[in-house]
Symmetry: C2
Subunit: 185 residues, 2 copies
Amino acid sequence: MTANDRTRRSFSTAEAVAILQRTPATLDALLRGLPETWTNGNEGETTWSPFDVVGHLIHGERTDWIPRARIIVEHGETKDFEKFDRFAQLAVSKGRSLAALLDEFASLRRQNLQTLNALNLTDADLDRRGRHPELGVVTLRQLLSTWVAHDLDHIVQISRVLASQYSDEVGPWRAYLRIISGQQG
Amino acid sequence: MTANDRTRRSFSTAEAVAILQRTPATLDALLRGLPETWTNGNEGETTWSPFDVVGHLIHGERTDWIPRARIIVEHGETKDFEKFDRFAQLAVSKGRSLAALLDEFASLRRQNLQTLNALNLTDADLDRRGRHPELGVVTLRQLLSTWVAHDLDHIVQISRVLASQYSDEVGPWRAYLRIISGQQG
């Protein structure tokens, strides 16, 4: 990769943190105070609403990213990661308000970024390897890169779920809206 | 559509405005102060960076949504919309900072929502028809629904462009990240 390549970046902890620290405020700006008709909408059947996604992100802060980073740093490949429960947010979120979930996500993320900073990771640390129960050997660099991409993936999901509520209402413009036509471009 | 249908909404001006008024703060939270290595990254060749997308949204505020709504209200189907220039942001943005573009987008959006509010649209108004130069007859309801979906489409695009910078760095997790694998789910 050259310095001028605008399509790919090498991982840098500082650049990753720049995204990770912005996600809670981004979701707050997009979702807090929005009518529940929007935040509880989904894409049918067991698909997730924006409310569900915030619960999933909270569960990730508690059990996925930093706990797995600690396993790599402390145990390397000798200890598998815990499996991540993709349905835990149903319990996390039950009976709670979206505002309370957004607050909790912001608080957990802040703490986790403090923990990450305290780990003081070197390039050699980022090459350390752990063992994912399904994917096999992964590096700490890959885990932290995935944390970033995972945030952005769920911002995509929330935006898509919101827009899809208007799939009929946009009429002939459907053809121009990749978010509704389902084409990625 | 029933009140319990969580997958589709009928258009409501108040609900549309609830999204439209949040977009500037959402983009601000996501992008302001982010290193330029992120905000200038694209997906190769002539694809857009987050910086380019904000310029495009500014051009839409100036020439697309409210100007077209006015044409429908004042001229109906007797006057075609102006064609929208999808490359105008190159001129809009040249030599400016992302912070300045975010400020301008927020200011234009605020003004345009004031204008929308002043139009005091009734359900009958929302059924009024205009003529799109390529799509043919469209209604004001469809135009305003598309304004909402278009915002969300570009939040998706910005998030995807950011995440795609780490396409290599996530390693085997690529398989789980729709934002990188390109699958919509």
